[in-house]
């Protein structure tokens, strides 16, 4: 296994939002910051995309028609293929959304809309850093186990 480079500005991010313009704004900002971005505008596509090519992080809108973000998150966490992918919720600022529920279903953070791009980038980088650190630990553990 190659040693992980501690580069915060790389990784694949899946954005899920039913409003295409939101997808465009966030994907442009993240792409400009060096991330590879994929977009889904409903729950079905989000689950399909996450399962077929695991992203390093998912930005997930809470308020979506049909299946909402909470439920998408629960389904992601129930699937062994996608359960380890961190989820950051996206929520409208004037929306009384349940922050406790957001964490209870497995979210790691949340970003309020309208997006402040630097804030969104900072939160994304933070989660990516945690992911990288976790991967480092896993790699070191494997190495140790092999030595023992």
């Amino acid at each position: 296994m190659n040693s992980h480079q501690f580069n915060l500005s790389c990784g694949t991010i899946l954005i899920v939002d039913d409003i295409p313009d939101n997808l465009r704004i966030l994907s442009t900002a993240l792409t400009e910051n060096g991330y590879q971005v994929r977009c889904a505008k409903n729950a079905a596509m989000a689950l399909m995309g996450a399962r077929n090519a695991s992203p390093d992080l998912i930005l997930l809108d809470i308020k979506m028609p049909d299946v909402d973000g909470y439920e998408v998150c629960q389904r992601l966490k129930a699937d062994p293929k996608t359960c380890d992918i961190p989820v950051i919720f996206l929520s409208a600022m004037d929306d009384v959304f349940d922050k406790v529920k957001a964490f209870a279903v497995g979210g790691v953070d949340y970003i309020t809309k309208p997006f402040q791009v630097p804030e969104a980038i900072a939160r994304v980088q933070h989660q990516i850093a945690l992911q990288v650190a976790k991967a480092e630990i896993r790699a070191l553990n494997t190495e140790l186990e092999q030595r023992v």
Partner: protein, 204 residues
């Protein structure tokens, strides 16, 4: 009455007399006998070019009563000066829009147009219809190879728009509508529709 010199546009003008000339010499002959109100003059012609024809016509006193509009593919300001110096009253760039031609005639001849409502309606429909021609269908996808379709299916289920763009680039020029149709779906994030249609195409 108008004289069209070597313009291959089909005439859309009714209630107007019109003659055609194939070259500059013919244009001058027809003009001298017939005295049209306006001449659409192609500037590049054999025998006598539009420049010479315009100069000849404008050198006559009665030529002053004829409006000459140059039809030119050139967009250089320099050429414009040459046409005007030859006696052309105005010029229109090729390819020209129908509206432009009608507007110029309105400007120089003071003509007014009566539009038939039904024609307008048909035109509007065809304008609206054209983007919808870029519809993504199974039969349109069937022109691509099985391997390509499988790659597209995989890219769509992975929401991988970069890979889809690369696959779109492989679509031959003659199927550019298919390329546009897929790109449109990608622009709207309709990866599920792409995946479904491709799957159906592979199955059929």
């Amino acid at each position: 009455v108008t004289l069209r010199v070597r313009s291959h546009q089909p005439s859309a003008i009714s209630h107007q007399q019109e003659e055609k000339a194939e070259n500059g010499q013919e244009a001058v002959e027809i003009w001298s006998n017939w005295e049209p109100h306006l001449i659409w003059m192609d500037m590049r012609m054999p025998v006598m070019n539009g420049y010479q024809a315009a100069q000849t016509i404008k050198s006559h006193l009665k030529g002053q009563a004829t409006v000459i509009i140059a039809l030119t593919a050139s967009s250089f300001e320099e050429e414009r000066k040459i046409f005007i110096s030859a006696g052309c009253d105005d010029f229109v760039h090729k390819p020209f829009m129908e509206d432009e031609i009608f507007d110029k005639m309105a400007q120089y001849l003071g003509v007014r147009y009566l539009y038939r409502a039904i024609d307008k309606l048909n035109n509007m429909e065809s304008v609206e219809r054209s983007p919808r021609m870029e519809q993504l269908t199974e039969s349109a996808l069937a022109v691509m190879s099985d391997q390509w379709l499988r790659q597209l299916l995989q890219a769509a289920t992975q929401l991988d728009w970069i890979l889809i763009s690369q696959l779109i680039e492989q679509i031959p020029e003659e199927h550019s509508l298919l390329a546009q149709a897929i790109q449109q779906k990608v622009d709207n994030f309709d990866f599920d529709r792409i995946a479904n249609l491709v799957q159906q195409t592979i199955n059929s």
